[in-house]
């Protein structure tokens, strides 16, 4: 460990990254990542998988630096269509849609994009720095996550949904239950029985996430957008230029704690293999709402929700990189591709990676830091160009969004069937929203359902009920209970404080 963490080795890592031959791949990766991330339905995993054969010619260092930059930029770029068009660029940008698009409708697209760029940069930078410091040490603990802990994580995610359901808890819970039920479609893992595919082979693996997401978020919005003349609500002045973006950057500075907490959630969830940013951002969004002084503003275009989602989203790459580099266990689909790129080039990540390739390992971790630093200037320019979308009248925008949703769904698995799913889930999303049900609760349950089912089964098979008594599982259980209890306790404390204030003011001096 002494050798690994010596200043000499660390500086050699920085030196290796700063060689022009390697460094040039960072801005290239950022640009490609920003473009790829902004295309709905086509994410960085797809793109990097396609790039995999090319990495043989790039060499391991260049390939990984390029991929890290691409990973980092695409996570941030997914927020652009989420804010401007209510289409999540990647599944993890779904919470951004909830707040960002409402801000766009209020004519605050630039401000929302500024907030997003700042939060993404801070979350990413925090995650990269923490990964840099703790990777050699912390990665080992990730091995202790078994099925019981993963089930508890899913349970924790479900509990976070309770904080997202708004005024009616019953409708929120029914949305979750419907999401869980929909998640039961497809081939189950115990005996390989295909549960309710309704005769469609396209549903053998269950409902695909991307078409469902594009339907309930992007397509469902068209039913109300079609009645308006432009994306920005009537009577609201559209503000363009760099001004609102810089206002957004300044606005994010008021939320240091929110960004810090969300970035840390991103790292922690990213650290656990098999979870990923799509779950992390919902957990972070829920936590931001619970700790907020104005929780009632969530879902109406609130800065705090947007900052929480985006800081967490970019916090995930650093977390996901830790088990990939130290244990050889990729924390997400994209890190799996990055790991494959290293292996193709004859470098095997794992417990011995740091001892055998310490300089290269630090260079990879530093590339994440530099990529996040570059995100700020590149992100501001891209955000400025992107705000022009709000000037397009709805008579042109609505058909274009519809086409993007349909084509984006096709791009995921290249199946025409997925286009129909967009329309079906678009109608469902519009109905859920119209009658006060929770679209986020539905989506989160759809996402966590298979994870919860598998891990509950495995933990019961392996260790019975005792497996839930392991320390990490118990800690997550306690966190879940506290998440449930916290709003009640806080409400009581506020009530008691107000009562005390009233008593005090009624006592004559």
């Amino acid at each position: 460990m002494e050798n690994i963490a010596s200043l000499d080795v660390i500086l050699s890592g920085v030196g290796l990254l700063l060689q022009p031959g390697h460094l040039i791949w960072l801005p290239l990766g950022m640009l490609v990542g920003l473009i790829v991330g902004a295309i709905p339905g086509f994410n960085d995993t797809n793109f990097l998988a396609m790039m995999l054969p090319v990495t043989v010619y790039m060499g391991p260092m260049n390939a990984v630096v390029f991929m890290m930059a691409c990973f980092c930029a695409s996570q941030a770029a997914g927020s652009i269509p989420a804010i401007l068009l209510n289409i999540p660029g990647t599944p993890s940008n779904a919470p951004t849609c909830l707040e960002g698009f409402k801000m766009t409708r209020r004519g605050e697209a630039g401000y929302a994009l500024g907030l997003s760029v700042a939060a993404s940069t801070v979350g990413g930078l925090l995650s990269a720095l923490i990964a840099l410091v703790i990777t050699p040490v912390v990665g080992v603990y990730a091995l202790n996550f078994g099925p019981a802990e993963l089930f508890m994580m899913a349970l924790f995610g479900m509990t976070a949904v309770g904080t997202l359901t708004g005024s009616s808890l019953l409708k929120g819970l029914l949305s979750s239950a419907l999401g869980l039920m929909v998640a039961c479609v497809g081939t189950e893992f115990q005996v390989g029985y295909t549960r309710a595919s309704f005769g469609f082979y396209e549903l053998y693996e269950g409902f695909p996430l991307i078409p469902v997401l594009l339907g309930v978020f992007g397509f469902s919005e068209l039913f109300s957008l079609v009645g308006d003349k432009s994306l920005v609500a009537e009577g609201v002045e559209r503000v363009t230029g760099f001004g609102p973006i810089f206002d957004g950057l300044k606005g994010s500075l008021k939320q240091k704690v929110n960004m810090l907490r969300s970035g840390l959630i991103g790292i922690l969830v990213g650290l656990i293999p098999g979870t990923g940013a799509a779950i992390a951002t919902w957990v972070s969004y829920g936590q931001a709402k619970q700790w907020s002084k104005t929780p009632e503003k969530f879902g109406t275009g609130h800065d705090e929700g947007l900052v929480a989602a985006d800081a967490c989203n970019n916090g995930v790459p650093g977390g996901a990189l830790i088990p990939t580099v130290t244990l050889g266990i990729p924390g997400s689909g994209t890190t799996l591709i990055i790991m494959a790129a290293l292996m193709i080039n004859g470098v095997t990540p794992g417990p011995s990676f740091f001892s055998e390739h310490a300089v290269e390992a630090y260079a990879i971790l530093f590339s994440l830091v530099v990529a996040n630093l570059l995100l700020l200037p590149i992100g501001i320019v891209v955000a400025r160009l992107a705000t022009n979308v709000t000037a397009v009248p709805n008579k042109y925008l609505v058909p274009i969004i519809a086409l993007f949703c349909l084509v984006g769904a096709f791009a995921w698995r290249q199946m025409i069937f997925d286009m129909y799913l967009v329309v079906i889930f678009g109608v469902l999303g519009a109905l859920l929203t119209r009658y006060g049900y929770s679209v986020p609760a539905f989506l989160l349950a759809l996402l966590l359902g298979p994870l919860a089912e598998k891990n509950l089964y495995w933990s019961l098979e392996i260790g019975g009920m005792e497996s839930f008594q392991r320390p990490i599982a118990l800690v997550i259980l306690l966190a879940t209970i506290s998440v449930l209890a916290l709003p009640v306790i806080l409400k009581k404390m506020v009530r008691r404080g107000k009562a005390a204030l009233n008593e005090k003011s009624s006592v004559p001096e």
């Binding site: 019953l170 239950a177 039920m181 549960r195 039913f223 308006d228 058909p399 096709f410 791009a411």
Partner: protein, 152 residues
């Protein structure tokens, strides 16, 4: 005390009805599955059932929620629902490029785009851009129309 009779809020039955239909279809589809396979879905269905009853109990007779301030255009909404279905069907026969171009052109016109030239230009740019990205760069196997001398 209010003497007003409680009225059924039919709108509140739509989502519960969809949920019920889905669960019924789900268990009809899996009627030959073993108990082991259905343990988890059954638990979820029971949970859903309890919540379903709760929602109906509390919301069926509740006064309808306040109307949204955002305008709702039923004819245009119907167009949004039907046009994509026609587009998906047409894609198989006309190919991605031609179907996308026609979809955009007709939708622009129906939603108020009066200038044909502008409609054609925007539709061409969007379709061309998508064609270049999806087929040119990503080499996706989208349905294409073979005209003999060109593959659109």
């Amino acid at each position: 005390m209010s003497t007003q009779r409680k009225q059924v809020n039919w709108g509140e039955t739509i989502v519960p009805a969809i949920t019920l239909l889905f669960i019924a279809a789900y268990f009809y589809q899996t009627r030959d599955a073993s108990a082991e396979v259905l343990r988890w879905p059954l638990a979820i269905a029971i949970l859903t059932g309890i919540l379903w009853l709760g929602v109906l109990f509390f919301f069926l007779f509740a006064p309808p929620a306040e109307e949204s301030s955002r305008p709702f255009a039923p004819v245009k909404a119907l167009l949004i629902l039907l046009a994509p279905i026609v587009y998906i069907l047409a894609t198989t026969y006309l190919g991605f490029a031609l179907a996308s171009f026609l979809f955009l052109l007709i939708m622009f016109r129906c939603l108020g785009g009066i200038s044909w030239w502008r409609n054609i230009l925007v539709a061409l740019i969007i379709t061309g851009g998508l064609y270049f990205i999806m087929i040119g760069l990503m080499e996706m196997s989208l349905p294409r129309l073979d005209l003999g001398f060109i593959l659109l």
